[in-house]
Symmetry: C2
Subunit: 469 residues, 2 copies
Amino acid sequence: MQFNALTPELVSAFEHILSSAHVLLPQHTEADQYEAYGRDHTEDFHFPPDVVLRPGTTEEVSAIMRLCHEHRVPVTARGAGTGLSGAALPIHKGVLLSMERFNKILKIDEQNLQATVEPGVVTEVFQNAVKEVGLFYPPDPASKGSCFLGGNLSQSSGGPKAVKYGTTRDYVLNLQVVLPNGDVIWTGANTLKYATGYNLTQLMVGSEGTLGIITRVVFRLLPYPQHNVLMLVPFRQEAEAAQAVSAVFRAGIIPSGMEFMEREAIAWSSDYLKIPLTLPEDITAHLLIELDGQDLEQLYKEAEQVYGVLEHYDVGEILLADTAGQKDDLWRIRRNIGNSVRYNSVYKEEDTVVPRAELPTLLKGVKEIGRRYGFKSVCYGHAGDGNLHVNIIRGELSDEQWNVGLREPISEIFELCVKLGGTISGEHGIGLVQKPYLHIALKEANLNLMRGIKQVFDPHGILNPGKIF
Amino acid sequence: MQFNALTPELVSAFEHILSSAHVLLPQHTEADQYEAYGRDHTEDFHFPPDVVLRPGTTEEVSAIMRLCHEHRVPVTARGAGTGLSGAALPIHKGVLLSMERFNKILKIDEQNLQATVEPGVVTEVFQNAVKEVGLFYPPDPASKGSCFLGGNLSQSSGGPKAVKYGTTRDYVLNLQVVLPNGDVIWTGANTLKYATGYNLTQLMVGSEGTLGIITRVVFRLLPYPQHNVLMLVPFRQEAEAAQAVSAVFRAGIIPSGMEFMEREAIAWSSDYLKIPLTLPEDITAHLLIELDGQDLEQLYKEAEQVYGVLEHYDVGEILLADTAGQKDDLWRIRRNIGNSVRYNSVYKEEDTVVPRAELPTLLKGVKEIGRRYGFKSVCYGHAGDGNLHVNIIRGELSDEQWNVGLREPISEIFELCVKLGGTISGEHGIGLVQKPYLHIALKEANLNLMRGIKQVFDPHGILNPGKIF
């Protein structure tokens, strides 16, 4: 694709659409502020755009897209910049479209258990708002305190509760989307069932900002589960922790969280947060298991069943969290593993996913590959979904080893995932950093279909160019 | 699109790929058998194909598609022919691809709670097979005793349990698909989470056989709910029955079934099945409410909460089904409404869907439109999903009234749906009969995207031509 550079005339046109306060040029913006728009949470990349635009309405987005479409200027939409695949980085420069001003919860419909929101609302802010009226929005990526719903939609984000409740995808009913040529559509209807032509809603989710700009979302909601039980189960053998996961489901129980943490993952995070945690020397991994529902008695019954399953494994003393504070601490430890790893070292995070019973094989394979190529990894993730985050620690690796030498072992890890019936990303997306590996998961025929779909939506290829494929 | 007629050379080529036993030509096939391939359950249409092919393997489907692609011959895939939108009718003649020999359950994976099946397996056969090992496949269209899983996928079918468990769409992990040019792909991975490029799996579901031929399916499964409670609630006012639906959800309860039946729907069906049912004269509608779970005590608690909600409405005596036989009878009555209507009269079934709290308004609107245009309708459906099946009874209507005169009132019904935030099909699809109304639900920009996607998958337009748009 040939793109055009930003011209002063275009900048004036943007200032006419928005106001100059929302058209940020590098020469007129504080360096730190501007630099932040060129970064996300992926490794240590920095790609500054030519201009940052901060629209506040669908009409403004439409007018901007129309201009960029006409002038062949790249547009990269950005949520909160917490992504882990580099999907929001404007690698071809042009316009960075920051959605930060789309931060309104427009309607919480208590009759229909639905909400209409803008995509720049922080996930946790939305969760708390619906909780206040007894409703529940389950998707909870680790970054829920800062990430935007729009980013969650673009990457099809999950989180711990996905094992019982599904991912962001499962809560979207309808999307308002500005197409690259400026046309505005709604992708579906505000209904729980939909069989009215191709499902454009589900096509948009996970398309990483390459097909259109989401400007409004209708989510479905659930009644808020009033109670939960949380237990931390230490295992003496990592493989057994992974095996126990399937056994719990096989016993007819669907936990609302089933998280796996290697010893180092939990140790680094509790250190990072300064939350004291006793870790006997023989413990190599933990499962964090949550059950939720409307009836506490019922949850205790289920917890007993879980204990029954765990009896068959070599586990240490199970910690049943019995105060809200204790529960909160355990979840904070789990959610901050990524931050604690980042605090310790630059790292690459691979978002591997396999059918859950294949987790022990995947884990063993990752460690074996690491030994063979000489790198250290810290593994943790959503064991109930078979979604294992493999954090490869830079440590003392040279630039050459880090930038080039890891390609082969990462390919081997992904090949193993695919061999086990899995794929190369469960919830982070492909973006920039997984792009070189996409051919491992998908055949050329699949990629050609995707390229064709991209061409239908975005004939000039201006939306988030250079991502996915 | 220009299509070519079937030639004797092509027929020989098909006989070479399959065997002559599975290449059915009208002149060599019993008339009744051949005619059945040109019909489905939609009104009284009949569109005979030029030839019926019955492949048994993916390779055979691929070879057939390659030939038809090259020779520009239309191909219409067919499951069990229970569809209600005419999607499986070969209106442009050519090849009817019957998937009846794809009837094998290939694997039930008890560790991962997954199953791999061929698309010609009858839905209920699959449900029973997984139930035998304690697992649950929830989607249950009314025709579950005869419809195929492949048809359910094509139309994104739902059924009563969708209100708690979602539709067919929500249980598909991965699809093997033969593309129009004969290429074979898998659309995704066998994992619960997937963020690896555009979601081709969800694009295929509901695409009504216009994008590719599904030859293998990986479904996710749940632990089988061991218990259920079923109650039949008679209402003296239809509108209150519709209102009570939202109130139950608002009380924090998610029933596994929440079905609405007008007086006549339940009366016709119980007559048709010869199941005696007392219907006091002042009763105008019923809700059939099912709760399910692993713990019976817990279900009785929830049932009491439902009773608590219903106290606020003008209901008759609630029937709590207390034997398996009684439950079975009630569900048979519900499932056979369609058959009983068909037994009484030719009818058109509109698959309207709105946000559930809008159901009273929709129902009132449908009746008002019927009075104004002089037709009778029998309404029933999945109230928990806001999915109301409006059966327009032919009765004494003339050909002119039936074929032309109903277009305007049907348009009005669909316009009302869209105005209420809903759409024109919840679970039956667009196919042939809803096609003239699609513009009511979708803008030209949406339709253009869909046409573009169709072109990417099927550049010669040979797959199920003339459907959806």
